[in-house]
């Protein structure tokens, strides 16, 4: 099982968890496993059945956009990071 890190803005969709274990050998499979257990998370980060473009996905420290996208391989010791932009600052 790989580990998926849930960013703060998405934690409410997964009952407050900071990280979750999920099965799969690619990013796609890992996310499908995760979404099966947490449909609210899928609704939050998907558009028309696709992962929304404003959510960055990293396997360990590498952005999957510069690897094989959602087909990027995920090993059991890898960490998948979902990372939408965070805006908070001044006010």
């Amino acid at each position: 099982m790989s580990t998926v890190r849930i960013p703060p803005v998405l934690r409410e969709s997964v009952g407050g968890s900071r990280s979750l274990a999920a099965q799969g050998t690619t990013v796609d499979e890992v996310l499908a496993d995760l979404f099966a257990n947490y449909p609210a998370l899928r609704d939050r980060v998907s558009q028309d059945g696709q992962l929304s473009p404003f959510v960055n996905v990293y396997v360990n420290e590498g952005d999957v956009r510069y690897r094989d996208g959602l087909g990027t391989a995920v090993g059991p010791d890898d960490t998948v990071i979902l990372l939408p932009a965070m805006a908070g600052g001044a006010r």
């Binding site: 960013p7 404003f54 960055n56 420290e61 001044a90 006010r91």
Partner: protein
């Protein structure tokens, strides 16, 4: 001839003669003293390094050596050690270096870049080898613009001002609210209702009267962004919404201004540095703007008081490195801080060749 067992102590006048006749001059003071002025033909070898490095600096033990420090104490110890360790021809200057200079001895001093008051105020920074007087001068000449004089802007402004960043611009059209004070340490209870930029100026000039604080009491928008950032060397982004962040990014790329990005949410913070055309920009990292519900501001989501302090000081640290031109910045790395578990982690961010702001299709 048996090796010498004594060294000579010489006056400044005698030392001048020895130097004129070709004696090698060894300065056993510290690097920082050397930096303030030294005999041009001397070699620096601080007293503590004499035993370990003398063989490399002066391999021939018969070389005539004139040893000096500031007033004659350290040179005495160095000379005694040299004689005990086989150096045969050693003289120690027993006078002050001021005497040497008074008699017309050669002297090289750096141009005074700081006033005596500045040297006192910034002495702990000037001592750092990577800063020195030249680095402190760069900080004093630097102009840094802070977008937002709130949570992130507070620690950034306080430390930049204290450290001697010469000009700090503040863009904020807001007034101080009681609910700001839990984290916005630039402001104060008796300034609720006052413009944030004015409150910031009072605090910053109280800490450092020399800081030039420029108040821009306006909200960053498409019509003013270019004018606001044009005169500054580095921009610190502590805004609270995506529209402003994308707007700032595009203008900063166009004008080639580095932007130090910081954002916070409850227990989490993110910091990175965007240096146009050298590293990725904000659009490379997030090509598509998220919907507003994924970007709740602090007044909706809440934020731990120390969080902007931590993220803001990491931003300030980036400012110093950019201005001084030292170290490694966060360009190409997104640093994430989790206050709940006290963990730092980072991911790589890449320049996107297809980036609409800084990619191959843009005008460089």
């Amino acid at each position: 001839m048996p090796p010498a067992t004594q060294f000579r102590e010489v006056s400044a006048a005698e030392a001048l003669e020895l130097a004129a006749s070709g004696w090698r001059i060894l300065d056993v003071r510290e690097q920082v003293e050397w930096n303030e002025g030294h005999i041009p033909s001397a070699t620096l070898l601080p007293l503590a390094d004499v035993p370990s490095r003398i063989a490399e600096v002066v391999p021939d033990r018969e070389t005539p050596l004139l040893v000096h420090c500031a007033v004659g104490a350290r040179s005495l110890r160095a000379s005694a050690w040299l004689i005990q360790n086989g150096y045969t021809n050693v003289a120690s200057l027993k006078a002050s270096l001021l005497d040497w200079r008074r008699l017309g001895g050669a002297w090289e001093a750096p141009e005074q870049l700081l006033t005596p008051a500045q040297l006192r105020r910034y002495s702990r920074q000037v001592l750092i080898p990577e800063i020195g007087q030249a680095g402190q001068r760069k900080l004093l000449d630097a102009k840094v613009l802070l977008i937002g004089a709130g949570g992130l802007g507070s620690p950034v402004a306080l430390y930049l001002g204290a450290s001697g960043i010469g000009t700090i611009g503040l863009v904020d059209d807001d007034v101080v609210d009681e609910s700001n004070l839990q984290r916005q340490v630039l402001h104060a209870s008796d300034r609720v209702g006052m413009s944030k930029t004015e409150s910031a100026r009072i605090t910053l000039n109280g800490l450092n009267p020399e800081t030039r604080v420029v108040e821009h009491r306006e909200r960053l928008g498409a019509e003013n962004v270019g004018r606001l950032i044009a005169d500054y060397d580095v921009i610190v982004d502590g805004t609270d919404n995506f529209d402003t962040r994308y707007l700032l990014n595009d203008a900063a790329v166009k004008l080639r201004k580095p932007v130090i990005h910081g954002s916070i949410y409850r227990w989490d913070g993110q910091v990175t540095t965007f240096v146009p055309f050298e590293g990725p920009c904000y659009r490379c990292m997030y090509p598509t703007q998220p919907p507003p519900e994924l970007a709740p501001a602090c007044d909706v989501a809440g934020v731990l008081g120390v969080l902007p302090g931590i993220a803001g000081l990491l931003q300030a640290n980036e400012v110093f490195k950019l201005i001084l031109g030292v170290g490694e910045t966060l360009a190409g790395r997104l640093l994430m801080f989790d206050a709940m578990s006290t963990e730092f982690s980072e991911v790589r961010i890449w320049r996107d060749p297809a980036c609409p702001a800084c990619g191959e299709g843009s005008i460089q």
